[in-house]
Amino acid sequence: MTNPFADVPHEPGAPKPDPIVIADHVHRHFGGLTAVDVKHFEVQRNQITALIGPNGAGKSTFFNLLTGFDKPQTGEWQFNGHSLVGTSPAKIARAGKVRTFQLTKALNRMTVMENMRLGATAQNGENFFVALIPGLWKQREKEITAKAEALLKRFKLYEKKDDYAGELSGGQRKLLEMARALMSDPEMIMLDEPMAGVNPALTESLLEHVVELRDEGKTVLFVEHDMHMVRRIADWVVVMAEGSIIAEGPADTVMKNKAVQDAYLGAHHDTDLSEDAS
């Protein structure tokens, strides 16, 4: 496979050969605090893109903006060529861009299987009047269940299918959330800190699952703190600091970038700040 990033310059806002997401001039401030101010941003289709940055860089806010969970003051952004400005989170999900959450949102007092079924699309029984006549939705329910079982097996949760989601471990809930997001066959999946709170044993299988998603033709964008994960699986890394994108490139190039090191460690990390030095 040729590297689609071969001709992409290593600079913030670099244009990609086949972008699935394009954002322009996205600006979000809370009172006087600018949380996100992104001039231009593109995500390459069918690749794993990591969004990294120090705490408070605006990664999660930007994530929320892209998925409709928050609204920016100004900006344009599109998915697959369709503008998503003012679109509700539900519609964005139905358009094929599904997200997970930093604080896992497993539906605790529902079984693992019910969690999975809820992720499915095209179940007419979710309409009130159709729901009254089981004959109209049982067939689709069978298809959904079969699909859910296959996904649960793949994510090694099949034995837990009748347990309540609240009884799973933190890492298993992350897996469930990812599996649930896949029920709708999204084109793009956005993971908000998929590794947070996951034990090392499970980290490995989570990483494999993310790579598998790309190999199946899906686009992955994830926010992460864990640099090992970023190095291991990200095809392209985008670094945010203080609301803006400050660097882009492959993991190794980005880590050596002066601006990135300054952002993580502080611009004056090697300067002596004591009085007699000046």
């Binding site: 998925t67 969970f69 509700s88 989170p89 539900a90 519609k91 999900a93 139905r94 599904v98 997200r99 997970t100 959450f101 949102k105 497993a106 539906l107 605790n108 007092r109 529902m110 019910e114 079924r117 809820l118 992720g119 699309t121 179940q123 029984g125 979710e126 309409n127 009130f128 159709v130 729901a131 009254l132 089981p134 939705w137 329910e141 309540y164 609240g166 009884e167 959330e177 649930r180 997001a181 029920m183 709708s184």
Partner: protein
Amino acid sequence: MDILLNSLASVFAPATAAFALAAIGLNFHFGLTGLLNMGHAGFMLLGMYGYAISTQNGAPIYVAVLVAIAAAAAFGLLLGWPTLKLRGDYLAIATISAAELIRYLGRSNSLQALTGGSTGIRGNDFKFTFEELSPLPSENITILFWTNHGSLSSSWWLHIVAWVTVGLFALLFWLLARSPWGRVLKGIREDEDAVRSLGKNVYSYKMQALVLGGVIGALGGVLWALGNSVQPDSMGRPTTFWLWTLLLLGGAATVFGPILGSMVFWASLVAIKGLASAFIPTSVLSPVELEPFSLVLVGITLMCLVVFRPQGILGNKRELAFND
């Protein structure tokens, strides 16, 4: 013996059925969707007014029932429109005040001609269309130990209609709770944002649940009115809290929880009142103090329930309990 028979009578009294039905409505709100409706009595009262006033104005019974349904549906839409986009607590605040608003409007002097003000609407003014439908003879009928009139007021006829209605709506709850529609509602109860991220229109589902539960509450109000009269002050905040009590007592999110809860609640209220009047001398507790005293005991029972069985009698602790 009388105490026992009276308690048993209240197990299957029409009033018990009316509360069970209203609690089924509340179960759609809270048990399935997690909506904190603190003004369910308002829906009941609207149903009562809708039914009684349209009957007074010559409407046939089915039109009167439709008016009750329409009034509750409109009230639900109006309440939900601004509040369902906000966090759950706001719905609680809005519903409790909206229900009080209905009650105060109903008992206000300016609406006296329509609602009868604080005295309300006498039973005889609106019960006749229902009583005329009774196939039972118009006389007192004794079944086992209990005597009721065949067709009038808290009649055997009303007993039958009330419990058949409760049965039908319990069936509806059972059907919907296990459907994909009910699954979306349960998802919303657990986490709205997660359900949004899966592509469901959360606002629309919450609205559907609010309106459906409200309409069922209004029908519960109609059943109540058919056994009593339309009295705005009988549908105040205490009624809402009793509904919550008996729903949680029976077990929220279960099919039979509201029904069993209502039966246990009313039977124990009657039993406590009976026992207290039989064994506590009037010098200690005067007859007027009996009612508040038994309600105090009900309150204590509820507290014990929260402590010892948070999921209610029939509830599933893993699915829905107070303390999590």
